[in-house]
């Protein structure tokens, strides 16, 4: 039997390949012309920083707040370069990966192909894992602003993370819980790497310092509604009678969970502790939820150093860009800044090893809104002091307010809950 249309198939594939090549080549030429470092005469050199965020999908409500942060950081970098008399102009190339591993990998590959050598993002640990192999083999530097998975704490790779490790933060939160006189806790968190890590390490440190985590209730991400999970939580709280609930979730699910919890008398009778998961999310700031937060004396922790004027400046400046600080937004800013400083330090070189060394060096001397930029040997950021926050009605609006801080030596709660 003659194979069906073998020649025609070959011809078609070939034709498509050629067309693809032509399109790719021309687009690439155009983009490449705008993008990568060019040693072109008198005019300024453009350096493109790749960005891949989950601008759509389940965590998009957080990530869209990062986009203005990136623009602000790029503007700051350009001002810096100008003031230093360098003729380098930074430019972001922002792509949406929809929160999927597949999308992140495609974006990173596309960015790499257009000559980008430093990528900011992706947001989730699962996405960082998916791009790790590509980053390692091609020596592409990835600066993940919000990933805290311990499985990614790998020495000597090209992945850097500006989100401090969850360990220190959970330890501080456990200490806070002990100081507040909380003996037993029911833990309630999203089944997502970010929150799993927090829940596990909080449990470890809290039990080391004498408390008990009575039950660990995990709810599945990516659902429309979490009302039944809140009902389960209420059941456990009623049964086990803990002193507090430890909660971790992001903005979208957090708003849903807290709105339901606010209706639940049982859950109003215990304290609530949380991390920075839904910090800054505007949808959480309703009358109902803020009232609930006041009733349960909710305290959250977040990895922003105390007395850091840079952070307050960052928040003020961000307002002009039409965004509010959310989960990890200071880390996004730091990631872009460190990347830019590394490029400047490396003199616009695109040699990955030079860039990587420059990045580590630049981070050592960088101090930004998220604190000191220093990376540990795994390429993860170190952080030692934390801020405490809650939600309150201040100056006629509902706001996230800082109420204290935690350092190595002491826990200070400045404002009365």
């Amino acid at each position: 039997m003659p194979p069906i249309a073998g020649k025609r198939l070959l011809a078609l594939i070939f034709a498509t390949l050629v067309i693809g090549l032509i399109i790719g080549y021309s687009t690439g030429y155009y983009v490449g012309g705008l993008g990568t470092p060019q040693t072109g005469g008198v005019s300024e050199r453009t350096y493109t920083l790749g960005v891949t965020f989950a601008l759509s999908g389940a965590v998009s409500s957080v990530c869209v707040q990062w986009e203005p942060v990136v623009r602000m950081a790029i503007d700051d970098l350009n001002n810096l370069a100008k003031s230093m008399g360098l003729n380098i102009v930074f430019k972001p190339h922002i792509l949406d990966d929809g929160g999927t591993a597949d999308g992140a990998l495609k974006n990173v590959q596309t960015l790499y192909a257009t000559g980008v050598r430093i990528v900011i993002g992706p947001a989730l640990s699962s996405q960082v894992k998916a791009v790790k192999a590509f980053s390692d083999s091609n020596k592409l530097i990835i600066i993940a602003p919000c990933s805290n998975s311990p499985a990614l704490a790998i020495r000597g790779d090209y992945i850097f993370r500006t989100q401090p490790s969850a360990l220190g933060e959970s330890k501080a939160l456990a200490a806070l819980a002990v100081q507040e006189g909380l003996k037993s806790v029911v833990s309630f968190h999203l089944n997502d790497e970010f929150c799993n890590v927090f829940a596990q390490s909080f449990k470890k440190f809290f039990e080391e310092s004498g408390g008990t985590v009575l039950y660990d209730l995990v709810y599945q991400s990516g659902q429309a509604d979490y009302g039944s999970d809140v009902a389960s939580l209420a059941s456990w709280v009623a049964k086990l009678n803990p002193d507090a609930v430890f909660y971790c979730g992001y903005a979208t699910d957090g708003a849903n969970v807290l709105t339901h919890a606010a209706d639940e008398p049982t859950l109003r009778g215990v304290r609530w502790l949380t991390v920075e998961g839904f910090y800054g999310a505007s949808e959480v700031l309703t009358h109902k939820v803020v009232d609930f937060a006041r009733a349960v004396k909710m305290i959250g922790i977040r990895p922003v150093p105390i007395t850091n004027p840079l952070y307050d400046e960052f928040v003020e400046k961000l307002k002009k860009y039409g965004a509010a600080p959310t989960l990890c937004s200071e880390n996004v800013y730091d990631a872009v800044m460190i990347a830019g400083l590394a490029v400047l330090r490396a003199g616009g070189s695109s040699d990955p090893d030079v860039l990587r060394r420059a990045l580590i060096e630049a981070a050592k001397t960088y101090y930004g809104p998220g604190g000191w930029g220093l990376f540990d040997e795994n390429g993860d950021r170190l952080q030692a002091s934390f801020r405490l926050w809650t939600m309150a009605f201040v100056n006629g609006t509902y706001q996230y307010v800082d109420i204290g801080h935690i350092t190595d030596s002491n826990i200070v709660i400045e404002k009365k809950l």
Partner: protein, 345 residues
């Protein structure tokens, strides 16, 4: 300057993996009439099998204690990276084994699904299989030893020991394209054979086919064994390429992506499936470059990418509702018959 070679290798790798899925989907859905909306179930199962074998087995053979350093922790990943660069023969051997195992296991899984397929009737098969895919995803989320919701990391790419990323990428691409070619040849041969005729008759009217002595469930299960097996292999290829798996990778959207490929390409011909895969993966790759226009738009330009993809899908299908490549009856029979007619007259 744009890196054309790297771009091509990455794009074609995705293309090869998705084209395997598309060709098998066109065989089972376009030709045999099993409306498979659960393609991702087999893809994901293959990926997870590949991930498990290529990590656990590799670690165990190399003498690493997988209980103390399971592959979803940093220790396991570091050990895997070491092994994969130092011991090429072992990595390749385990990889080959994983391909075979995932072909057989995924195939048998597909074979066993024949019962619900026949039971619920052709109109509802699609949704039944979609449910299967979702159930599997729900199971991965709750399985601790594959990392649960965190997934697994560090699955070695079998050619990583070559050291040069472009070369190892090229080798892997070659391997994937070989498997694609194998899938295509098998599909094409089946299509032109009496079996292909029987399959099309089953798709047209399974009751009439049953009354004409075709053991419809058995034929469907055999075909489903084959296509599921190849989808499983595609999954393993994908897992080793991305070198990580997590449950969120295997959502139903992947299935619909493959469906879009075969519908746009022409659902009854494997060539159409390949062309569909080529077009859609290329569009996905090319469109991000538009994002460099971002200074002129008041919103994130990358949001336009799915809008464009949607527009292309809709317009192409309104223009060519039967796909770009339409099916022709097998040439061989036509020529044989014409010859006989000439002889007769």
């Amino acid at each position: 300057m744009i890196d054309i070679t790297g771009f091509l290798i990455n794009w074609l790798e995705y293309f090869a993996i998705y084209a395997i899925l598309a060709v098998t989907l066109s065989l089972e859905s376009g030709i045999s009439g099993i409306t498979n909306f659960g393609k991702v179930a087999f893809f994901g199962l293959g990926a997870y099998l590949g991930a498990i074998i290529n990590t656990y087995l590799l670690l165990a053979i190399s003498g690493v204690d997988v209980v103390k350093a399971p592959p979803y922790t940093a220790e396991g990943v570091i050990a895997l990276i070491e092994i994969s660069t130092l011991n090429p023969a072992l990595v390749l051997g385990v990889f080959t084994l994983s391909i075979l195992v995932s072909f057989i296991v995924t195939g048998v899984f597909g074979y066993l699904l024949t019962y619900p397929i026949i039971r619920v009737g052709s109109g509802f098969v699609g949704f039944t299989l979609l449910c299967v895919g979702e159930v599997l995803r729900g199971i991965y989320v709750n399985m601790e030893f594959v990392g649960g919701t965190n997934g697994m990391l560090g699955i070695p790419q079998p050619f990583i020991w070559l050291g040069i990323p472009m070369l190892s990428g090229l080798c892997y691409l070659l391997l994937s394209v070989t498997i694609l070619a194998l899938t295509y040849i098998v599909t094409d041969r089946i299509l032109g054979s009496p079996l292909g005729r029987t399959l099309r008759s089953i798709r047209d009217d399974d009751i009439a086919a049953l009354c004409l002595g075709k053991d419809v469930p058995k034929i469907k299960s055999k075909i489903f064994f084959l296509t599921s097996g190849f989808s499983g292999v595609a999954g393993t290829l994908y897992a080793c390429y991305v070198s990580s798996v997590n449950p969120q990778m295997f959502v139903t959207l992947v299935t619909f992506n493959v469906w879009a490929m075969i519908i746009i390409g022409g659902s009854e011909s494997p060539i159409g499936a390949i062309i569909g895969a080529l077009i859609l993966t290329l569009i996905e790759r090319i469109l991000p470059l538009i994002a460099s226009l971002n200074e002129y738009l008041p919103f994130t330009p990358d949001y336009l990418r799915p809008v464009f993809i949607g527009l292309i899908m809709t317009i192409v299908l309104i223009k060519y509702p039967r796909g770009l490549i339409s099916m022709k009856p097998p040439k061989f029979i036509k020529s044989a018959v014409e010859e006989l007619i000439r002889e007769a007259s």
